[in-house]
């Protein structure tokens, strides 16, 4: 079963609710760490840990710093899923 981009955003919205409980809105393509309370380095690695578990993928260390926005993160996840 292949995931659509919209499936990935839905899963991310769930992960955001868990990792960033103070976030006021679900993640959008242009959302960055500056928009989300709690998205600091601890939040960042927690989010990636959740994503790795959820999608069964693994981020290389350099990929932790490869994306600026949620849109770029989704592109990275999509590339790993194909």
């Amino acid at each position: 079963m292949s995931l659509t981009t919209s499936d990935i955003y839905d899963a991310l919205a769930e992960i955001f609710r868990e990792v960033f409980p103070r976030a006021s809105a679900p993640p959008q393509p242009d959302t960055t760490s500056a928009d989300v309370p709690g998205w600091d380095s601890l939040g960042h690695v927690s989010m990636i840990g959740e994503i790795e578990d959820r999608f069964g993928i693994e981020f290389r260390p350099e990929e932790y710093v490869e994306f600026e926005s949620v849109g770029e993160l989704v592109t990275l996840i999509e590339a790993k899923l194909t």
């Binding site: 309370p37 600091d40 601890l42 690695v45 990636i48 260390p61 932790y64």
Partner: protein, 508 residues
């Protein structure tokens, strides 16, 4: 009053200084380089540099530094072979250094330079351009290590200054506070590091930023004892430290416990990632039971040590060995801080009973004082009833079942994610952004603030946070800032921080 002293040492006789009988750190490094010149000293940019190569680099930089007698050297370099060589070179030529945290905002770095008035600033071209033209650096000599060739070397064993380094911590007025540490104090600490068993074959991580004194545990632990120093050089490494450990076969890991939190959140505290580590050493903030649960689950056979000490006591001055069998009895709200190391002492002062009070530290590692600040020095460094000189830490602690546990900061200096922050410094930064009335307080693991809104200006939280990030470190920027019509005040018209925090809690 019970004085806790390290084993084998009861009090200090008639003085507050133990004779400097310990080897100097520079001489230790030179001795290692002479004994085993081909051994790897530093692993940087994927390349191993031998002890003889690093010694050559030290002597080349020293040659450039020696143009000034007893130079005061500001080091503005990232964790790298040249940074470590600059530290050793400064000591070799009879100078003393101040390391900068390059991830601190440029305004803060400039303020440190203004307060220090260095003779020499070492940095790459980019870092040096930050200081050029700003008043303090105007008289300073700028050195870019890239322009220092290894053919003109400083010969001999050099001379030693009384002072080893001046490290700047967050200051309450917004001016950074320089802690002046003597060579005797540093040498005493580095002599104790031998108990950690550093030696040839060890690969020692270097995770803390150079502006944080616990980085010196790694630098001197490795280079004074013949081990290999392995800096975390990229943001990717700093976000995934357990992967760094696995990739480089790190045998000694030293950091604040926050780095373990990071590994835990990334789900990387695994026996596979951490297989090579023989010793985990922690300093700089309370170690928690959850850290030990995770570490011992992955590595039940590893040595884990907790230490305690403010910058003013030279990196750390207690030690507590933890094992899978004993650690549960040594955990309260945080892990016990342990007994003083040999030669050092602490006592709990000013509490309702001898088992509760402010931690007051004495012994040869106590700092000389604050840089150009006799008032603060006289306030925090005072004579104890028996004549010894004590450093009043502002840390409140309690003794229970023979163990001492850290409780909280007495004043408004707090730790956020392992970093020391003075709430007043953050409030001062908010005021400088045009919000004259502000209260800052700890909120969960972060900071939050309330500002009094102005008649003609509503608060733009995002904009203010952005402005603050230009003035203070990222960890000191409050996670949330709310506007209030009238700030709560006490009867003598002082801002009521507690009431402001309460209001924040119900309105956030």
């Amino acid at each position: 009053m019970t004085v806790r002293t390290g084993p084998g040492q009861r009090g200090f006789g008639n003085g507050d200084r133990v004779a400097p009988e310990y080897l100097d750190v520079i001489d230790r490094f030179l001795a290692r380089a002479a004994e085993r010149p081909a051994d790897p000293a530093i692993l940087g940019q994927g390349t191993e540099l031998s002890y003889s190569t690093v010694e050559r680099r030290v002597r080349a930089i020293a040659r450039a530094l020696a143009q000034i007698e007893a130079p005061r050297v500001l080091i503005a370099l990232p964790p790298s072979a040249d940074a470590y060589a600059s530290i050793l070179a400064t000591g070799l030529v009879g100078g003393y250094h101040t390391p900068l945290n390059l991830s601190a905002p440029v305004t803060k770095r400039r303020r440190i330079a203004q307060v220090l008035e260095p003779d020499i600033i070492i940095g790459d071209a980019g870092a040096l351009s930050e200081f050029r033209g700003s008043s303090p650096g105007a008289g300073a000599i700028y050195l870019d290590p890239a322009a220092i060739a290894d053919d003109d070397l400083f010969e001999g064993a050099g001379t030693r200054h009384h002072t080893a380094y001046v490290i700047f911590t967050s200051g309450s007025t917004g001016t950074p506070k320089g802690v002046v540490i003597s060579r005797d104090a540093l040498n005493h600490y580095v002599a104790w590091l031998s108990t950690l068993g550093y030696g040839p074959g060890d690969r020692v991580s270097q995770q803390p930023n150079l502006g944080f004194d616990i980085s010196m545990t790694d630098i001197f632990g490795a280079l004074c004892y013949g081990a290999t120093l392995c800096p975390l050089e990229s943001d990717a490494d700093r976000l995934t430290p357990a992967r760094f450990v696995a990739r480089h076969g790190i045998t000694v890991w030293n950091s604040t416990p926050s780095a373990i939190s990071l590994m835990m959140r990334a789900r990387q505290v695994t026996s596979k990632n951490l297989a090579s580590v023989r010793l985990f050493n922690f300093c700089g903030e309370p170690l928690l039971r959850e850290h030990l649960d995770a570490l011992f689950a992955a590595r039940p056979d590893a040595r884990v040590q907790n230490t305690y000490g403010p910058t003013e006591a030279t990196i750390s001055m207690t030690a507590l060995e933890l094992t899978p069998d004993n650690f549960e009895n040594l955990c309260d709200t945080s892990v016990a801080i342990g007994d003083p190391i040999p030669g050092m002492a602490y006592e709990l002062v000013g509490g309702p009973d001898p088992d509760r009070g402010e931690i007051v530290i004495s012994g040869p590692q106590v700092a000389d004082g604050y840089w150009n600040d006799p008032d603060q020095t006289a306030t925090k460094f005072r004579e104890l009833p028996d004549g010894r000189r004590g450093y009043f830490t502002g840390d409140w602690a309690e003794r229970r079942d023979g163990q001492v546990y850290f409780r909280e900061r007495i004043d408004f200096q707090v730790k956020v994610k392992g970093y020391r922050v003075e709430l007043d410094e953050v409030a001062a930064a908010i005021r400088s952004c045009g919000w004259p009335v502000a209260c800052v307080f700890k909120w969960d693991e972060s900071l939050a603030a309330v500002v009094e809104e102005l008649p003609d200006r509503a608060l733009d939280e995002r904009q203010l946070k952005l402005e603050l990030s230009q003035l203070i470190e990222a960890h000191a920027v409050p996670e949330r800032v709310l506007g209030i019509a009238h700030m709560p005040r006490s009867e003598n018209d002082k801002l009521d921080r507690q009431a402001a925090a309460q209001w924040f809690g119900t309105n956030v």
